[in-house]
């Protein structure tokens, strides 16, 4: 069996500017992989390439052997890649429960007409959506907030809800864009445990962008490093820590050790 995700020489140009180019990556089923790089290195742009927000101007993206280039974001999500955002993007006026239900949207089958005429399929499918969403909230310990508007949750819980929502779309590959941004060490620690837990529970492959080196080095099995839109290194945390190009890219910034 081949890799779950294969990125072959992918890149994108905005006008004359090459934001990312020659990006290669392979993710195997069940791996937890980090994507790091200095500010403006093209990390989020790579995520946007993987999720269909941008269409790559060069190269190929294969997921489960299927080509993803040119698919709209919702189609990418339906084929099994789900994501969170660097700046939280919840449906703030919707309840916590409804936020998760939205992610279940494409798993339900009832049509618009079925809902308008309140056919039996509407009731049965909506019931399943409700039950499954509640289960999810329980797993993430968010069930006590279920009727609260998403915007009223504390910051840390909003991040949690965003991950819960991404998982409710039942992905095989989960992309986390700086999940620990704005969190204190205690919250970061809880987040690391949560990531480890969901990976096991849902048999997931996870790719995460992170600035918190301790987090990346601590939980990722492999790490890719981007700088100026180019992949400059890939390997185990130890290899990355001692890689001359990585040290150069982070010149002035110390590449911290695992327990920093």
């Amino acid at each position: 069996m081949g890799a779950l995700l294969q990125v072959k020489n992918a890149g994108i140009q905005f006008g004359g500017l090459k934001a990312v180019s020659g990006f290669n990556m392979e993710l195997n089923q069940g791996e937890l992989v980090g994507l790091i790089g200095p500010n403006g290195a093209g990390k989020t742009t790579s995520f946007n390439l993987l999720t269909g927000v941008y269409v790559p101007t060069e190269g190929d993206i294969l997921f489960n052997g299927k080509r993803l280039n040119g698919l709209a974001p919702y189609q990418v999500t339906r084929s099994g890649i789900s994501r969170t955002f660097q700046n939280i993007r919840l449906f703030s006026e919707l309840s916590v429960l409804d936020n998760v239900k939205v992610a279940y949207h494409s798993l339900a089958k009832h049509s618009i007409l079925s809902s308008i005429f309140r056919l039996p399929s509407h009731f049965s499918e909506e019931k399943v959506m409700e039950e499954k969403s509640l289960e999810f909230l329980k797993i993430f310990q968010l069930d006590r907030y279920k009727d609260e508007k998403a915007k009223n949750l504390p910051y840390g819980q909003q991040r949690r809800l965003e991950i819960a929502r991404a998982l409710a779309a039942s992905p095989k590959l989960l992309l986390l864009d700086e999940p620990a941004a704005g969190m204190n060490p205690q919250e970061t620690h809880e987040l690391m445990e949560l990531i480890a837990f969901i990976r096991k529970q849902f048999d997931l492959t996870i790719l995460l962008i992170e600035h918190d080196m301790a987090l990346v080095m601590g939980i990722c099995e492999r790490i890719y490093v981007l700088d100026h839109g180019q992949l400059i290194a890939a390997g185990s945390p130890d290899e990355i820590r001692n890689h001359p190009k990585v040290i150069e890219a982070y010149l002035g910034e110390e590449v911290p050790s695992e327990h920093a």
Binding site: T44, N48, V53, F85
Partner: protein
């Protein structure tokens, strides 16, 4: 040589659109608001000019200047009363407020003086027509074109060569950064409204002199079309508004000349929709997209 004549008519009409479009584009550039009331400032300018000429017997230029000054103050008042509170409001709230202000001005004027139209006297400007390659060209349309171009040149000078112009450009680029750099943002926005409204007032007087008939709802359609012109040229871009206005005026004249005068108003909106679909940033605009 019917065509040359239509072209000149189109350019005259287009220069009026351009003068109004400048105000739209400047205001949009600086506070991202489609100032629907702008077309009504144009109407008020036309009436002020009318009363100045007919009532006080002023000549064209004094009336033009008076109307511009009046509209500048009027524009700043609108901004101070209604729009200033909207700085942090949603786009929808801002747009609806602008629509509300537009209706308020229109029906306020009707309430104050009635809905009946007025006619500018036809001797405001000397009207001789001469022959150019077989086309009858009136001195009025050339004069109007000259005044419009003159005003645009003055505007370019203000925007690029003066301190207030520099502040305007800075605020439209990044309001928060400009504030941090010590620019008085509120005052800059007021200046923008003043200049934009003065140009609309000038357009109103020119319109009155050229087309004679003015009435309280006259600002709606030219206002919308001037907005189309601003979008066509790339909203927020000053030369874009001028070019957009001229193109729109010429296209409308051509549509009329082809015998489709009832479709003339539709032409502007069709252009608008085509440009929005195929090049929403306009002729001179740069493409920007929401950051994910």
């Amino acid at each position: 040589m019917e065509w040359l004549q239509q072209l000149i008519n189109g350019i005259s009409l287009g220069s009026i659109y351009a003068l109004i479009a400048l105000g739209y584009t400047m205001v949009y550039g600086i506070i991202k608001l489609i100032n629907f009331a702008h077309g009504d400032v144009f109407m008020v300018g036309a009436f002020v000019g009318f009363y100045a000429i007919k009532g006080w017997g002023l000549g064209f230029f004094p009336a033009l200047l008076f109307s511009m000054a009046f509209c500048a103050v009027f524009g700043v008042l609108i901004e101070r009363i209604a729009y200033k509170r909207l700085r942090n409001a949603t786009r929808i709230a801002a747009l609806i407020t602008a629509i509300g202000m537009s209706l308020l001005i229109e029906y306020g004027v009707i309430y104050a003086r009635g809905a009946q139209p007025e006619a500018y006297p036809d001797n405001v400007l000397p009207s001789t027509s001469f022959n150019l390659f077989g086309a009858q060209i009136s001195s009025q349309s050339l004069f109007i074109l000259g005044v419009s171009v003159g005003l645009m040149i003055i505007l370019q000078f203000i925007v690029h060569r003066t301190k207030i112009g520099k502040a305007m450009r800075a605020v439209s680029h990044d309001m928060d950064a400009a504030r941090l750099m010590g620019i008085n943002v509120d005052r800059t926005i007021s200046y923008t409204f003043a200049i934009g409204s003065a140009l609309a007032g000038a357009a109103g007087v020119i319109f009155g002199v050229y087309y004679t008939k003015i009435e309280p709802l006259m600002g709606i359609i030219p206002g919308l079309k001037a907005f189309v012109a601003a979008v066509l040229g790339g909203i927020g871009i000053i030369p874009g508004a001028m070019v957009g206005g001229l193109i729109l005026g010429v296209v409308e004249s051509i549509v009329s000349a082809l015998g489709f005068s009832l479709w003339r108003d539709a032409a502007a909106f069709i252009i608008l929709i085509l440009i929005l679909i195929f090049r929403p940033s306009g002729i001179f605009g740069k493409n920007t997209r929401e950051k994910v």
